[in-house]
C-alpha cells in the first residue's frame, strides 16, 4: 500500500466496521460479533496510524504530501476533499486510535449482556470514524462536517440508556449547548470563505490571506478577531469551556467507556485541537488570544472547585476533565502550542484510565456514588493501583506524565501572565486535593454497601447512574477483559511524559512541522527547576490535605461528634457515612459554602440560567405566538391584508 492508501485506510477501517454492523450483523441478528468487528476496525486504524506516524517521522518537515479531490464550488470558493497529515495529526491519530481500541476491548466486559450491545458498538465505530475524519481533515468545512458528526455520536451515546429520562435530557442538553458554540464556528466559516476565499487550513496561514483578514473589519473589530472568536466559540462548546461547560457533567449519564473515550480523551479535546490547529491565525488576533487564555484559566479553576464537592465519582472526573481542558486552552491562549498538545496527549491517557477505573469500580459496587463505596483497595488491586498511578499523574507528581506537561503550561503562564499563572497554580492544589479525595473515599476505609445501600437510602431501586453491577454481593476485581485495558493504559499514563523531557524535547521538535515552523511564532519556555519544585510542592500539599481529611482523619470522628452534639451526629453518621461527616464539617463549611457555593451559584443561576433562560424565553415566546393561530380563518385573512398594508407602508417609507 502507498503512504496515501494507508492514511485513507485509517479512516475507512472503522467506517467499514460501522457499515458491517449496520447492514450485515444487525439485520442478520449476529449481535455478538459487533464488538469484534469494531475492535478489528479500530485495531486496523491503529496499525495504519502507527505506520503513518513512522512515515511522518521519516519525512523531513514532518508533512505527508497527499492529493486532494475537487469537492464543490460555492461561488468563487473552490473546496477540495482531502486529508492532511503532519506531525500533530499523526500524534492525534495515535492517541485516538489507541485509546479507542482499549476502550472497545474494555467495553466487551462492561457492556456484556446489555440489550443494546450491537447498537453500542455501531455508534462507537461511527464515533471513531468521525473523530479520525475530524483530525485528518485538510479544510475547515470538512472538519466541521466531522465535528458535527462526533457531536451526533456523542448525543446518541449519552442517551444510550434511553429508559432513563435523565440520560435523554442530558443528551439533548449536550446537543443544544454545543450547537450554540457551533453557531460561532459556522459564522466563522462563512466569514473566512467570504473574506479569505478559502477554507483549506494551510492556505489560510499564508501572509496575504492573513493580511486580507486583518484588513477587513466589522463593527470596528478585524475580521480575523471575529473569525478567531467564532472558532473559539465552537471550540468552547466542544471542549466544555466556561460558560458552555454545563453539558459535560450531565453527559456522564452515558455508559462509562463512552465517558472515557468521548467525554475525556478525544471528542472534548477536539476544541483544543481546533484552536491549536488554527493558532497561526489566532496569534494575529491578540484580543482573541486573551479571551482564550483567560477563559481557559477561569474554567480550570472553577471546574476544579466543583470537583471538590461532587459525590458522584464520574462527575468528579467530568469536572476534572473540564478543568484540565481549561489548562490546555490557557496554554494555547498564551501561545504554548506544544505545551497544550503535550498535555492533551497525556491527559487522554490518564483520564481515560481514571474513567475506566471508575467504571470498573461501579461494575463491582453497583453505584457511582462515592458515599457508598470505600475499602475497595484489597478487593480490586489492579483497579486500585492503576487508578492511583493515574491520579498521581493528574495531580502532577514527578516523574509521571502529567507532571511534565502541566509544568510546561505553568512555565508558559509564568512567562506570559502572572495573574493567570496564579490561577493555574491554585488549580494545581485543588486538583491534587479532589483527586485524592476521590481515591481515598473509594478505595480506603470501610465498604459502605454499594448500590444496595444507595437504593435503600434513596428508597428506590432504579436510582443512580449506569449502575448495573452486582450490588455489593461480593466485592471482586473486574474481569480481565476490563482489567487488561487498565494496565495497558497505565503504561502511557506513567510514561508518555518522557517524550518531551526538558533535556530531550523530542515532541517539541517533532510537533514543529514545516508549516507550523513557518507560520507560528514559537513560544518556547525553558524548564524552570524552581517552578517545578514549587508546583510539585503545591500538589503534595493538596494530597496531604486530602489525606488529613479523608485518610488519617486527623480530627477524630467522635470528638467531632460530641462537639456537635450526639443526636445530629448519629443521624449524619448513619445517613452519610463517617467520611462525609468530615466533609460536611470541614470542607463543607469552609470550601463548599464559600468558594464552591459561589461558583455553584454562578453555574446554576448565571450560566445554566442563561442557557435555560434562553430556552424559557424562546418557549414563552412560542407559547404566546401560537395563540395567534386561533383557528379562525378570518383572523388569518386579516393577517394577509394587514401584511399588504404594512409592506406597502414600509416600502413607501423606505424610499
Amino acid at each position: 500500500m502507498t503512504t496515501e492508501q494507508i492514511v485513507w485506510s485509517i479512516f475507512f477501517s472503522p467506517l467499514a466496521a460501522f457499515l458491517l454492523i449496520c447492514f450485515v450483523l444487525r439485520p442478520a441478528g449476529a449481535h455478538g460479533l459487533a464488538g469484534l468487528a469494531t475492535i478489528v476496525g479500530v485495531a486496523g486504524a491503529l496499525g495504519a496510524s502507527v505506520v503513518t506516524f513512522l512515515n511522518v517521522l521519516a519525512v523531513p518537515g514532518h508533512e505527508l504530501p497527499l492529493a486532494d479531490y475537487p469537492w464543490l464550488t460555492i461561488g468563487d470558493l473552490r473546496l477540495h476533499l482531502g486529508l492532511a497529515v503532519d506531525s500533530l495529526t499523526s500524534v492525534m491519530l495515535l492517541v485516538v486510535t489507541s485509546v479507542s481500541l482499549l476502550v472497545q476491548v474494555y467495553s466487551l466486559g462492561y457492556m456484556a449482556g446489555d440489550t443494546g450491545y450491537s447498537r453500542y458498538y455501531a455508534y462507537m465505530a461511527l464515533f471513531t470514524t468521525s473523530m479520525l475524519g475530524l483530525v485528518l481533515a485538510d479544510n475547515l468545512l470538512q472538519l466541521y462536517v466531522f465535528w458535527e458528526l462526533v457531536g451526533l455520536c456523542s448525543y446518541l451515546l449519552i442517551g444510550f440508556w434511553f429508559h432513563r429520562p435523565a440520560a435523554a435530557a442530558a443528551a439533548k442538553k449536550a446537543f443544544v449547548v454545543t450547537r450554540f458554540g457551533d453557531l460561532g464556528f459556522l459564522l466563522a466559516l462563512l466569514a473566512l470563505a467570504s473574506v479569505a476565499g478559502t477554507l483549506t487550513i494551510n492556505e489560510l496561514f499564508t501572509e496575504h490571506k492573513v493580511a486580507a483578514l486583518v484588513g477587513a473589519s466589522f463593527l470596528g473589530v478585524t475580521a480575523l478577531t471575529w473569525v478567531a472568536l467564532g472558532l473559539f466559540a465552537g471550540a468552547a462548546g466542544k471542549s466544555a469551556q466556561f460558560p458552555l461547560h454545563v453539558w459535560l457533567p450531565d453527559a456522564m449519564e452515558g455508559p462509562t467507556p463512552v465517558s472515557a473515550l468521548i467525554h475525556a480523551a478525544t471528542m472534548v479535546a477536539a476544541g483544543v485541537y481546533l484552536v491549536g490547529r488554527m493558532l497561526p491565525l489566532f496569534q494575529h488576533a491578540p484580543a482573541a488570544m486573551a479571551v482564550v487564555a483567560s477563559t481557559g484559566a477561569v474554567t480550570a479553576l472553577m471546574a476544579a472547585t466543583m470537583g471538590l464537592v461532587a459525590t458522584d465519582i464520574k462527575r468528579v472526573m467530568a469536572y476534572s476533565t473540564v478543568s484540565q481542558l481549561g489548562y490546555m486552552m490557557l496554554a494555547l491562549g498564551l501561545g504554548g502550542y506544544v505545551a497544550a498538545f503535550f498535555h492533551l496527549m497525556n491527559h487522554a491517557f490518564f483520564k481515560a484510565l481514571l474513567f475506566l477505573g471508575a467504571g470498573s469500580v461501579s461494575h463491582t459496587t453497583g453505584t457511582f456514588d462515592m458515599r457508598y463505596m470505600g475499602g475497595l483497595r484489597r478487593a480490586m488491586p489492579v483497579t486500585f493501583w492503576t487508578v492511583l498511578l493515574a491520579s498521581l499523574s493528574l495531580a502532577g507528581i514527578p516523574p509521571l506524565s502529567g507532571f511534565w506537561s502541566k509544568d510546561e503550561i505553568l512555565a508558559t503562564a509564568l512567562a506570559a501572565s502572572p495573574g493567570l499563572f496564579w490561577l493555574a497554580m491554585a488549580t494545581v492544589l485543588l486538583t491534587a486535593f479532589y483527586v485524592f479525595r476521590m481515591l481515598l473515599l473509594t478505595f480506603t476505609g470501610e465498604y459502605r454497601g454499594g448500590g444496595a445501600a444507595e437504593a435503600a437510602a434513596n428508597g428506590d431501586a432504579a436510582q443512580g447512574a449506569d449502575a448495573h453491577g452486582h450490588g455489593g454481593v461480593r466485592l471482586h476485581e473486574s474481569p480481565s477483559v476490563m482489567a487488561l485495558p487498565l494496565v495497558m493504559l497505565a503504561a502511557p499514563a506513567v510514561l508518555s511524559g518522557l517524550v518531551n523531557l526538558p533535556t530531550i524535547p523530542a515532541l517539541d521538535d517533532f510537533l514543529m512541522s514545516r508549516t507550523v515552523r513557518e507560520t507560528l511564532e514559537a513560544h518556547h519556555v525553558a524548564f524552570n527547576p524552581l517552578l517545578a519544585a514549587f508546583s510539585t510542592g503545591m500538589a503534595l500539599l493538596g494530597i496531604a490535605l486530602a489525606w488529613l481529611v479523608y485518610g488519617v482523619k486527623a480530627l477524630r470522628a467522635d470528638s467531632l461528634g460530641s462537639a456537635l452534639g450526639g443526636l445530629p451526629y448519629r443521624m449524619l453518621y448513619h445517613k452519610y457515612g463517617l467520611d462525609f461527616l468530615y466533609e460536611k464539617v470541614l470542607v463543607g463549611s469552609l470550601l463548599y459554602t464559600v468558594v464552591c457555593g459561589l461558583f455553584a451559584a454562578l453555574d446554576r443561576y448565571v450560566v445554566d440560567g442563561l442557557v435555560n433562560g434562553a430556552g424559557q424565553l424562546t418557549r414563552g415566546l412560542g407559547r404566546g405566538l401560537r395563540r395567534v393561530e386561533t383557528g379562525q380563518v378570518q383572523a388569518y385573512g386579516l393577517a394577509i391584508f394587514l401584511g399588504v398594508v404594512v409592506i406597502t407602508a414600509v416600502a413607501i417609507v423606505r424610499g
Binding site: L72, K172, V176, G643, V646, I647, G655
Partner: protein, 477 residues
C-alpha cells in the same frame, strides 16, 4: 407547432384521464398507482429531452417559456409527485373508493405546477396557479371528515382571497405597462420607476401577498399549520414541497423578469429580507410548542420558507442559485421526512409526537430515515440541509447581509430543539408496545430514494450546485 415543449404536461394530463377511466373499469388500486408512476416517468423522460441551452424556447405567443430554470422545477414537481404517489399506496384506503380520482387530481396538480414553472405571461400564470390551487383544495378536503373539510375550506377561502390580491397586483402592473407578458413588462417598469414609484410598490406588495400565500411566509402563512394538520398526510407532504416550490418558481420569475431592475429590485429585496427574518423566527419558535408532528412540520416549513427567502433578499444571480439548491435539497429532505411520517402515523394511528416514543425499535428503517431527514432540516452535516444553508448563507454574506445570516444561524440552533426532540422521542423514548411496524414495499422504496438523495446531496453537493447555478443563469443572466 411548439407542442413538443409541453409534451411532459400533455402526457400527465393523458395519464390522469387514463387513471380515471381505468378506475371506472375496476382496475386495482396498485395498478392505478403504477399507471401514475409510469406517466410521471415518461413525462420526466420527455422533459429530459428539453434540457440544454438551445432545446427549449418560447411558445404559444409568449405564454410559456421552457428554459433550464423552468425544467429544474418541473423535475422537482415530477419527483415530488412520484414519491407522494408511491408513499400513498397504503394510505389511499382511507379515501373510500376514490383512489383513482385521488391519483388523477394529484397528477393534474402536478400539471398545474409545471405550467406555473413555464408561464411567463400573467393570464397563463394565473390560470395554472388556480389549476394547482383547485386541485390542492380538493385533495385537502378529500377525507371529508371534520378536520379534513375544515382544512379544505380554510385553504380555499384564504387561497381565493389571496388570488384576488394577486390579481389586483397584476391589474395594476397591466395598467402601468399595458401588457401581461413578463419580459415585455420589464422595460416599462424600469423606465417608469421614478414617476410611478407608488403604484409599483403597491403592486409589489400585492404580488408578494398573493404569492407569499403559496410560499407560506409570514404574515401570509397562517393557513399552514391548520391545513397541514387537517389534510390527508400524503397531501400535506405534497403541499409542503411541491406547492412551496411552485410558489417560489413564480416569485422568482415574476420578480426577476418583470421587476428585476434596480432600484425597484433593491426595494423588494429589502422587504423579502424582513419577511425572511420574520418567517424563520416565527416558524422555529412556535414549532417548539407543537405536539402534533404534522403541525410541527407546518411550522417547520414556514421556517424553511424563511431560510429560502434569504436567497430573494439577494438580487444577483447567486441568490437564485441559492434558492434553487435549497429547494432541491428541501424537497428530498422534507419528502423523506413526510414519507416516514405517512407510514408511521398510518400504523400508529396517531400524529402525536409523544406516540413516536421508541419507534426506533419497532421500525428501525422508518425511524432512521426520519431522523436523517430531520437532521438535514436542522442543518447538521453531512446532509443536504447543511449545504443548502451554507450555500444560501454564503450568498447572503457576500452581499453584506450579515445580520440576516446571524439570525438564520441562530434560528437553526433554535430549530435543533424540536427536530431533535422528535429524534429523541424515537430513539431515546420507551415504546409502549413493541410490535414491529410493517412497511409496504413502494413506501420503503420512496423513503429510500428520498433518504439517499438527502445523503448524497450532503456528501457530494457539487453537481447539484452546478446545475442550480446553470439554471439560475437562464433566469438571471
Amino acid at each position: 407547432m411548439e407542442l413538443y415543449l409541453i409534451f411532459p404536461e400533455l402526457v400527465l394530463l393523458l395519464c390522469a384521464l387514463l387513471v380515471i377511466f381505468s378506475d371506472l373499469l375496476g382496475a386495482r388500486k396498485e395498478a392505478l398507482a403504477g399507471l401514475a408512476v409510469l406517466g410521471l416517468l415518461i413525462a420526466a423522460r420527455l422533459a429530459m429531452e428539453l434540457v440544454g441551452p438551445d432545446k427549449g424556447g418560447v411558445a404559444f405567443a409568449g405564454a410559456i417559456v421552457v428554459d433550464d430554470f423552468a425544467l429544474i422545477f418541473k423535475f422537482l414537481f415530477l419527483v415530488s409527485t412520484l414519491l407522494v404517489v408511491l408513499a400513498s399506496v397504503e394510505y389511499v384506503e382511507r379515501f373510500e373508493g376514490v383512489a383513482g380520482e385521488y391519483y388523477a387530481v394529484l397528477l393534474l396538480a402536478c400539471v398545474g405546477m409545471m405550467l406555473m414553472a413555464s408561464a411567463q405571461e400573467f393570464i397563463t400564470l394565473y390560470l395554472s396557479l388556480e389549476l394547482t390551487g383547485i386541485s390542492l383544495y380538493t385533495l385537502t378536503g378529500l377525507l371529508r371528515d371534520a378536520r379534513s373539510s375544515e382544512a379544505g375550506i380554510k385553504f380555499l377561502l384564504l387561497g381565493a382571497v389571496s388570488s384576488a390580491v394577486l390579481l389586483y397586483g397584476i391589474a395594476v402592473l397591466f395598467g402601468l405597462t399595458g401588457t401581461t407578458s413578463l419580459p415585455q413588462m420589464a422595460p416599462a417598469v424600469a423606465s417608469g420607476f421614478q414617476e410611478n414609484r407608488l403604484p409599483l410598490l403597491l403592486a409589489t406588495a400585492l404580488l408578494m401577498a398573493g404569492l407569499g400565500f403559496k410560499l407560506a411566509t409570514v404574515p401570509f402563512q397562517m393557513w399552514v399549520p391548520d391545513v397541514y394538520e387537517g389534510a390527508p398526510t400524503p397531501v400535506t407532504a405534497f403541499l409542503s414541497v411541491a406547492s412551496k416550490s411552485a410558489g417560489f418558481v413564480v416569485v422568482l420569475r415574476v420578480f426577476h423578469t418583470a421587476l428585476g431592475r434596480d432600484p425597484l429590485a433593491a426595494d423588494w429585496a429589502a422587504i423579502f429580507a424582513g419577511l425572511s427574518l420574520a418567517s424563520m423566527t416565527l416558524g422555529n419558535v412556535v414549532a417548539i410548542q407543537q405536539g402534533n408532528i404534522k403541525r410541527m412540520m407546518g411550522y417547520s416549513s414556514i421556517a424553511q420558507a424563511g431560510y429560502l427567502l434569504v436567497g430573494l433578499a439577494v438580487v444577483p444571480q447567486s441568490g437564485v442559485s441559492g434558492v434553487l439548491f435549497f429547494l432541491v435539497s428541501y424537497t428530498v429532505t422534507n419528502l423523506g421526512a413526510f414519507i416516514a411520517i405517512i407510514a408511521l402515523s398510518d400504523k400508529l394511528n396517531s400524529d402525536r409526537i409523544s406516540d413516536y416514543a421508541g419507534v426506533w425499535q419497532r421500525a428501525p428503517f422508518l425511524a432512521s430515515g426520519l431522523a436523517l431527514c430531520l437532521l438535514s432540516l436542522t442543518g447538521v452535516p453531512p446532509t443536504a440541509g447543511f449545504f443548502a444553508k451554507l450555500f444560501i448563507f454564503n450568498v447572503a454574506v457576500q452581499q453584506n447581509l450579515l445580520w440576516l445570516v446571524v439570525a438564520g444561524v441562530l434560528n437553526s440552533v433554535v430549530s435543533a430543539y424540536f427536530y431533535v426532540g422528535v429524534i429523541r422521542e424515537m430513539f431515546l423514548g420507551a415504546p409502549v408496545d413493541r410490535t414491529p411496524v410493517a412497511v409496504a414495499a413502494p413506501v420503503a422504496l420512496a423513503l429510500f430514494l428520498a433518504v439517499a438523495g438527502t445523503f448524497i446531496l450532503g456528501v457530494f453537493p457539487g453537481p447539484a450546485m452546478s446545475v442550480a447555478s446553470a439554471a439560475a443563469g437562464s433566469l438571471v443572466p
